[in-house]
Amino acid sequence: MKHLFVILSILFTGMAAAQSKYEAGIQKGFEQMKTAKTAEDMTAASALFERIGDAEKDKWLPYYYASYANYISGWMNPKADKDKVAEKSKDLLGKAEALETNNSELHCLRQMIAIQQLTVDPMSRYQTYGAEAEKALQNAAKADPNNPRIYYLRGQTLMNTPEAFGGGKAAAKKQFEKSLELFKTFQPASALHPNWGKEDAEKSLTACQ
């Protein structure tokens, strides 16, 4: 019995180690994202997530974060060719979608990437990328209407839409409030699942006051 206990404990340690290698990898990526000072640092974090995704083969979260970090790198470098950044972000997002279909978080990310491309030339791109973004948010709401990030993102879009077209601070405020309401009860599926946006929503709400 004693042997059995020892063996089992070793096996457990091993399994825990295997588990934590993945977890540790993701956590290391989180750390890199948090400490990233330049777009290159953020791209490096994205590359780490991508490698984790490639090595794990069956997990969508690494690709999600790889795409997310790459997307952020597009904002960190104001001179970045946003279409080129988006091409990479979409490629990574596609890999995540191949493993996890119809996830609200992935739809949200698709919206964010479309908005990033929209900002290159909003006047003439509104009809294509604006529609793409809107469709993505609708899909996100269909997949999980309680995802607080949907309302945060919608609020962001409304803030940047002229009042004459249904945008403006008042309209955006409603969305941020709804988002924060949902954040109160929101529980990510695990410590590794997307859990960002609360602070952003709070900041945006303040900006609307």
Partner: protein, 743 residues
Amino acid sequence: MFVLSIKTTMKEFTILLLAVLSTILGNAQVRITGTVKDTRGHIIIGASVSVKDSYDGGVSDSTGRFSFKTTEKGQQVIVAANVGYKTVEIPVTIGADSVSVAFSLKEEISELKAVTVTAGSFEAGDRKKAATVLSSLDVYTTGGANADITAVVKTLPGAQQVGEQEGLFVRGGAGYEAKQFIDGTLVNNPFSASVPDIASRGRFAPSLFKGTIFSTGGYSALYGQALSSALIMESIDLPERSEITASISSVFLGLGMQQLSKDKKASWGGNYGYTNLLPYFSIVKQKPDYFAMPQFHSADANFRIKTKSGIVKYYTTFSNMDLGLRRPNIDDPTLKNAFGLNNSNWYNNLSWRESLGRGWKMNMGIGFSTDRNGITQQIQDASDKTVVTGLNWIDSANFRLYTQSDLSQVKLVLDKRISGISVIRFGGEYQYFYSKSRYNGYQTLLVDHFKSLFAEADLYITNDLAAKAGVRFEHSSLINKMNMAPRISLAYKTGNGGQMSIAYGGFYQKPENSYLYATRNFGYTKATHYIVNYIKNTALQTFRAEVFYKKYNNLVKTYPAYNNDGSGDAKGFELFWRDKKTIKGLDYWLSYSWLDTRRNFLNYPQSLQPTFAANHTASLVVKKFYPKINTGFNFTYSFATGRPYYNMRLNAGKYEIADQGKTINYNNLGFSFNYLTSLGKAYAVLVGSVTNVFNSKQVFGYNYSHDGTRKDAITPPAPQFFFLGVFLSWGVDRRQDAINNNL
């Protein structure tokens, strides 16, 4: 059992534990370094390099180098990947020393990256980012263009500022040498009915189209019967949402609706518009005396249905127009020419686009249109009574003309994707033209069964080199002749967003009906295009330069006999620059065309610069939107040097030039503003616009009296045109409501 059969001592346990720990904590790390380049030796920045199936790796830096540490040992595979390139794997053995690997990645041929053949064409719309120059929004926000597609196209290089008749006069070509196509099929009467010396507007609203390609030469074998230019318009697919629209302006009233089905797979809608120029003309004085105020009724309807992997679209529009105007008679200023026009036009277009699988695609278009004109002209005296002078050259201006021109057509194009993104495309079309005319009781009928077959290939040799080669065969039963037109173009990427294209093509066109009424003993007129083009594109800037040479053969001569003995040529260069980057929020474009052309056609006694060709043409279009006040301001300045005019007189059996000259330079500053707001639940756009802000004198040519002693300048009916209108839309997006209601 496996677990129980193992006997473990404390010592063994320690070893095991260490082994487990070592895999977790890692042992001695080895550095992997190297470079990532493409097959031509250019460095690739941002490529991901990793040890396969591990988390270890890095990214290539701005010098193409990478360096990272790994704990993996032994036989491993190093992988380098970058979007748009084929992933490369290199096996290595990792020992104690650092390992160096050099990667050479091959670019994948992709539609996003591949060079596009751009010689001669301006693509408007975002079907392909690389070729985008103008979007449909641009049509609405070009100052002074009054949402007329043709007016906006005239600000692009290659097009002339011709104001006395409708049409696109491209690179020395006459207006009828430019044709318009909607979803692949020919539009027989793209402009509202013609009034002498006044340019009419295009029939189609810009909002119908998601993209417009303005081709100034060298275009695809899919299009024919246009010597100089093709304006290729692609209609929108399903609308984004249901909506009701209304408009009220100084010249028209409009109502429309568009319904999108709940499953978003089908839509239908229609519009009605009524234009009456009475209120406007009573405020803004016009040169002609309108005895019948211009009135237009227009109605259109559409449906669009998504199929399995395609779409069926139907669009129909009917319009009726009526007007009458008096202008002084040139031979006797005490008399007036009273011109009356009633036009009805019905246009139908049904198109079906479908992906058939296995790389096959189909595009089918069926069209029917009929255009009927009742035109009268009477010579009237000062009290508006019809008079007969007994002078043949005056009395011959009395006429009654009825015309009917119908076109029924079907066109089928099949696409087959061959290797990579290369495509072969082929198909055919059949057009049945029925044209009837009755001039003072004298009736003529022209019927043409026109057939064409065409094939072309888009070949992508690499991402940097593409070719388009095609051939077109045509047969017209009316003149009973066939032709074969080869077309070829090449495009090469020169790097940094720049590319060069060259194009060559033969273009045939049958003579206009007005000559065929006289005799059918004609052959095709012919133009041969040679084009070299350089274009440099980034998301917010476009630079384009083009040089061309065109040779005209077999042009129509009307004197001394009706035949194909005419000829001519045209050469020139064009520059275009669009910039949305330098000043934030400011969008401007600048175009310049230099043209040198001569023709000996119609009754020209010798080779002459035609009356519709200016040597220098330039446009500056500036737009700025101020988000704080929700208002955009748009300016368009167009300039053209004077165009030649001639008085050809028949003298002793020969035409000779009795008088000639050049008109004054053409200047036009157009302005418009659009203010976005909401009225109740409707989105509203308030639009104001004025043409020729500085009231510059514009002369388009001269009319001569019978004896040549008098000449009258052809000028616009009024020096300026003012427009004020409100466009309202009530969007009915149920899903948007549903989301808002959940808040």
